[in-house]
């Protein structure tokens, strides 16, 4: 396992009160895997991310990345981190900020400028290269944040709400970038509230609730669901249940299927009952239901 967390506990002291945020988290992420971290506000996702990045020291438990401590410099050399909000001296330009980040990441001076230009072009922010960070919108800052994280082609990528503040084009770009990084072989931990995005890019998802991993689910390689929304009044629930083996809930029927061919067959069977179909959705994992059930 590339990232291994065992029995992680972390609490914070506030005057006389001690609040335990992580209560024994165990997780492992394999090399090249994209893992989502979801959970309600206050579940401990940010604390877990901070421990994984070496910003916070666990009270108990261990964190190893590729067999080394989380704050090991060799691991840092191969790590990229996108914070939820980009905080840096707002008076510097995007280009000089990224050049500084590139140099800190160990990219030689002679290559830093080219690398910065290349990444800015990929993230679509080359037109704002010479603008101060204070003049950038939230979405542009988020792209600058992704740019600095990817500047050294990291093997481990920690993304905290990378699509936060991005416009629809930005969200699609962020998704493409994650998939590109995955293809390159990077191990990615994605903390996001955007369940549909998590569903689209992650192999597995960890549901963190009340300081523990309450559930983990495989998305890629798991069974598909055909989610068919029926036209109200156009169907008889018992006929649908006889036809596909699952009764509709209100006007939605969710049928587990093996593959896309099975999904098409389910749609044909429903149509054959005379029911009107409003929408057909291919669902890889019902994260929303999982979220509702666990939180």
């Amino acid at each position: 396992m590339t990232v291994l967390v065992r029995g992680l506990r972390k609490s914070f002291r506030q005057i006389a009160r001690r609040t335990e945020v992580l209560k024994g988290v165990d997780l492992e992420i394999a090399s090249g895997e994209v893992v989502g971290l979801i959970g309600p506000n206050g579940a401990g996702k940010t604390t877990l991310m901070s421990c994984l990045l070496g910003y916070l020291h666990p009270d108990e438990g261990t964190i190893t990345i590729d067999g080394r401590a989380a704050d090991d410099l060799d691991i840092r050399r191969r790590t990229g981190f996108v914070p939820e909000r980009m905080n840096f001296d707002r008076h510097v330009t995007a280009r000089s900020f990224l050049r500084y980040m590139a140099r800190l990441a160990g990219i030689p001076r002679s290559q830093a400028d080219d690398r910065v230009s290349e990444m800015m072009q990929r993230l679509g922010i080359e037109h704002g290269a010479n603008k101060r960070l204070s003049q950038h919108s939230r979405g542009m800052l988020q792209r600058v944040g992704m740019c600095q994280a990817l500047i050294n082609d990291p093997s481990y990528l920690f993304l905290d709400e990378p699509a936060s503040g991005l416009d629809p084009n930005g969200v699609i770009l962020a998704r493409d970038i994650i998939l590109e990084q995955k293809k390159r072989g990077a191990t990615i931990l994605l903390n996001s509230h955007q369940l549909s995005e998590v569903e689209k890019v992650c192999d597995r998802v960890f549901f963190l609730s009340n300081g523990i991993i309450a559930r983990h689910e495989r998305i890629r390689g798991a069974g598909l669901n055909a989610v068919v929304t029926l036209l109200p009044g156009s169907f008889d629930p018992s006929v649908i249940a006889n036809s596909v083996g699952v009764a509709p809930r209100e006007n939605v029927v969710t049928v587990p299927v093996g593959d896309d061919a099975d999904l098409a067959e389910v749609v044909r069977e429903i149509v054959a009952t005379g029911a009107g179909i409003v929408e057909v959705r291919r669902q890889t994992a019902d994260l929303e239901q999982m979220f509702r059930g666990e939180s």
Binding site: H57, L73, R85, N87, F88
Partner: protein, 245 residues
């Protein structure tokens, strides 16, 4: 030390309108004071203000703004980062001092009515440069466990506390009535209190000499080294909270 961090720290000072503007104003003052045959290094009180402002920003604001999270995700040792920031700030202050010195010299050369007090100018400026080492080191040490600009607050509060305590010890007498008399008798019974408070004051805020003083130089260098060592030890274990204040 990281040349990248040092260069970036110096660069950011010299692209700051406030820093460049202040440097220009002080250079002009140094020139004018020299022109009117003022005392050597008459502009140094402006340098003392700059040292405090620049030193206050060394680490606390980066900590509170959340900038540190971004930086510490990069492959740089925390102690190396802290010492490089310190070196960068001190370098920027020294450049400022060199410019002030140069403008004072130009002022005296162009005026040329009296002989140029080159030795006095050099020694006093050198002493300010050395004082910057200690002041910034103390501010780094305070900043290693405090947030935001609280390092400079503690710097002043401690200085005031030491000054007031020493004044109280020296002024109150055992024959005074009430609390004053009780305190005076207590201090009389415990002379180590006055000795220790004075020692803290001498070590953290030593008076800058007007001549070259080897003992003072050693005091400044050794105390700076101790402050930086303690700062590194604290900063290495310090947790970096997520997000800005």
């Amino acid at each position: 030390m990281s040349p990248v961090v040092i260069a970036e720290t110096v660069r950011r000072h010299f692209v700051s309108v406030a820093f460049v503007g202040y440097t220009a104003v002080v250079a002009f003052i140094a020139f004018m004071l020299a022109w009117f045959d003022g005392p050597a290094g008459g502009w140094h009180s402006f340098a003392a203000l700059l040292i405090l402002v620049a030193g206050a920003q060394l680490i606390g604001p980066e900590f509170s703004s959340g900038t540190l999270q971004l930086l510490l995700a990069k492959p740089i040792n925390r102690s190396v980062y802290l010492l490089s920031r310190y070196a960068g700030v001190v370098a920027a202050i020294w450049i400022f001092l060199a410019l002030g010195f140069a403008f004072e010299l130009v002022g005296r050369v162009t005026r040329a009515k009296t002989s140029i007090p080159l030795q006095s100018m050099s020694v006093t400026t050198l002493n300010v440069a050395l004082e910057a080492l200690l002041t910034c080191a103390v501010l780094v040490f305070f900043g290693s466990f405090l947030r935001s600009y609280l390092n400079v607050v503690l710097y002043f509060v401690l200085r005031m506390f030491i000054g007031l305590t020493m004044a109280a010890i020296n002024e109150i007498r055992p024959d005074m009535p009430g609390l004053m008399g009780i305190m005076a008798r207590y201090f009389d019974r415990h002379p180590e209190i006055a000795r220790d408070v004075a020692a803290i004051g001498r070590n953290l805020y030593p008076d800058r000499p007007i001549t070259f003083d080897r003992a003072w130089l050693m005091l400044v260098l050794s105390n700076s080294a101790v402050a930086l060592l303690l700062a590194c030890l604290i900063f290495r274990r310090r947790e970096v909270p997520y997000g800005a204040d």
